[in-house]
Amino acid sequence: MNMAHAGNEAVIRVRDLVVGFNGMTVLDHLSLDVFRGEILGFVGGSGAGKSVLMRTIIGLLPKRAGTIEVFGFDFGRASERERRATEQRWGILFQQGALFSSLTVRQNVQFPMREYLDLSERLVDEVAMAKLEMVGLTPDVADKFPSELSGGMTKRVALARALALDPEIVFLDEPTSGLDPIGAGAFDDLIRTLQRTLGLTVFMVTHDLDSLHTVCDRIAVLADGRVVVDGPIATMLASDHPWVKAYFRGKRTRVGAPADQ
């Protein structure tokens, strides 16, 4: 599966990106490509700027220099209309879910459909339920409010909402954090299944070594404000970079976990 995407079109192309806050530089001339159809795992120490990169790509944070192209558009220079069109083509799963607390689960998933699309009420209802079932939720969850959900359910609903418009790219910010290993494993499988069935490109910020081993086609490591290593898990295990070594071959990695070593 891994190399199937090599030479493929880059859907996200980041070049020489500089991002900082009040005199502190977080991302320093960072460059990164994300190819169509791959699952990219993005790792780095806490506070290294993983979420900052994700938030900069999706336009929530301003950049100081560099270019970000999504689907070939320079997002910084895109017109309002182009921006909106691009925003319909990606879905974002925030770390805490960011579900609208005053809407039910069903309404949360339907929200982007109602705002962006002109669909019949019946189709909106049916597709929203289908999405909820695709992320592994039972229909009785649909009328609950976000405050009544468990952590794992919240993540699933947030994923269903991120997928509401059938996006081409999904950004996942620590999708398995706060889930038990079984739940996290199931979530990984879910991402893999959805990526295959929907042909998604997945940009996943994660700390979960198991996710990196099992679902990611490619991994990019962020250290000192730039991508120091990228490649499949084998590259990570072979890397000499001290942080990468400590991360992938530290105490918490299990012996003999990867099969393709």
């Binding site: 669909l119 079932e133 929907l198």
Partner: protein, 385 residues
């Protein structure tokens, strides 16, 4: 690359062909969300029950693009055929679309729960019932909070070291000191307005001088304390509710509780104490500002010189008026604080709930302040003050 709305994708089509005894629908184009509006009628036409054949099929060979919306519509069509007792097949499905169709096949199997229907009279009665039960619940909640605060205060009396002095000073700064400018401004303007109106109307009877009596008694007994209480309810009561509410939403209050702290001791008591200390001071300052404003207008608009104003003031008011106004202030503070904290701790998980409770906090506090003022006015009248 082009953006999605102008994507070069063929419009979806669904053509019916008769192949032997079978009826085959040839699907083509992009079966995606942008075309959902066109797809639904196509599906509806194809699922017509009066089809001439017992065996139907759908040929997916020429579909360029397929997403969840398109896949679901195909599934809807297949289900309609099955319900009509037809033998339906999907053919020519490209490998990469197979997974998606399999996923949607599992969806929407359970019948959707029908929406509950309500009769209008029933809804009305239900609302009245809920309203009554809410009012009693509110009163019960306030009484409970008063009880808890009293117990917390007693604990402090027994062990003064446990009193959160720093916290009280912090809140005193916020609800007291920082509120002074706005309270002074508003009460000053209020004093001016009352004086102006009084002079304007009293002048017809040649009784301008009694304006001084009116301003001083009104301000010292009623307006000063009520106006300041209303402003404090809006300014600080709402802040208390929002703070406690968002702490509740983010489980901070649960965290306190598990560490062995009672939220009432740590959060509610210091806020209440600060309010009870601050409100009489603010009332005093507000009353003075209103009298000053009144005096100024009397001088500039009514031609009553400051000397006359002050000598008239000495005759018009006694210490009683002043005390009556000031004595009410701590009670008002207690009401505002209790309502604000009770509402704050009643916030549930949603942002909407936070908004509702903050609104309720201010509305209830203002209502109770005015009702209490009425009762206290009757009380002071009956004891002859």
């Amino acid at each position: 690359m082009e953006i999605r709305s102008s994507a070069v994708t063929a419009r979806p089509r669904l053509e019916r062909n008769v192949v032997g005894e079978r009826l085959v629908f040839a699907a083509a184009g992009a079966w995606t969300v942008e075309h959902a509006r066109e797809l639904e009628p196509l599906i509806a036409a194809a699922s017509d029950k009066r089809l001439a054949a017992a065996r139907v099929g759908i040929d997916m060979g020429n579909v360029d693009r397929l997403d969840t919306f398109g896949a679901w519509l195909i599934e809807r069509l297949v289900r309609a055929w099955h319900r009509a007792g037809l033998e339906a097949t999907i053919e020519g499905l490209p490998e990469h679309h197979r997974g998606l169709l399999q996923e949607v096949r599992k969806a929407n199997r359970a019948p959707m729960a029908p929406a509950r229907s309500y009769s209008r009279l029933g809804t009305l009665l239900e609302n009245v019932g809920r309203g009554v039960s809410n009012v009693t619940g509110d009163l019960f909640g306030l009484a409970q909070m008063l009880g808890e605060v009293t117990v917390a205060a007693l604990r402090v009396v027994i062990r003064p070291a446990s009193f959160r002095f720093t916290s009280v000073v912090h809140h005193l700064d916020r609800v007291g000191l920082q509120a002074v400018p706005i309270i002074l401004l508003i009460t000053f303007l209020l004093g001016c307005i009352i004086a102006q109106q009084g002079i304007f109307h009293f002048r017809r009877f040649g009784a301008e001088l009694y304006v001084v009596d009116m301003i001083s008694i009104l301000v010292l007994r009623e307006i000063g304390v009520v106006m300041v209480s209303i402003m404090v309810a809006g300014r600080s009561g709402s802040a208390y509710t929002a703070e406690l509410g968002s702490m509740k939403m983010r489980e901070e209050i649960d965290a306190l509780r598990t560490m062995g702290f009672a939220p009432v001791d740590v959060l509610v008591l210091p806020r209440l104490v600060a309010l009870v200390v601050a409100l009489p001071i603010l009332t005093f300052l507000g009353s003075m500002a209103a009298l000053y404003g009144g005096g100024l207008v009397c001088w500039l608009y009514g031609g009553i010189s400051p000397e006359i104003f002050i000598s008239r003031l000495k005759d018009a008011i006694s210490l009683d008026h002043f005390v009556v106004g000031l004595v009410k202030a701590p009670f008002m503070a207690l009401i505002i604080g209790l309502v604000a904290c009770t509402e704050g701790l009643a916030v549930r998980g949603s942002a909407e709930s936070l908004g509702l409770h903050t609104t309720a906090s201010v509305v209830k506090a203002v209502f109770l302040v005015i009702v209490t003022d009425g009762f206290l006015a009757m009380f002071f009248a009956s004891i002859g003050k």
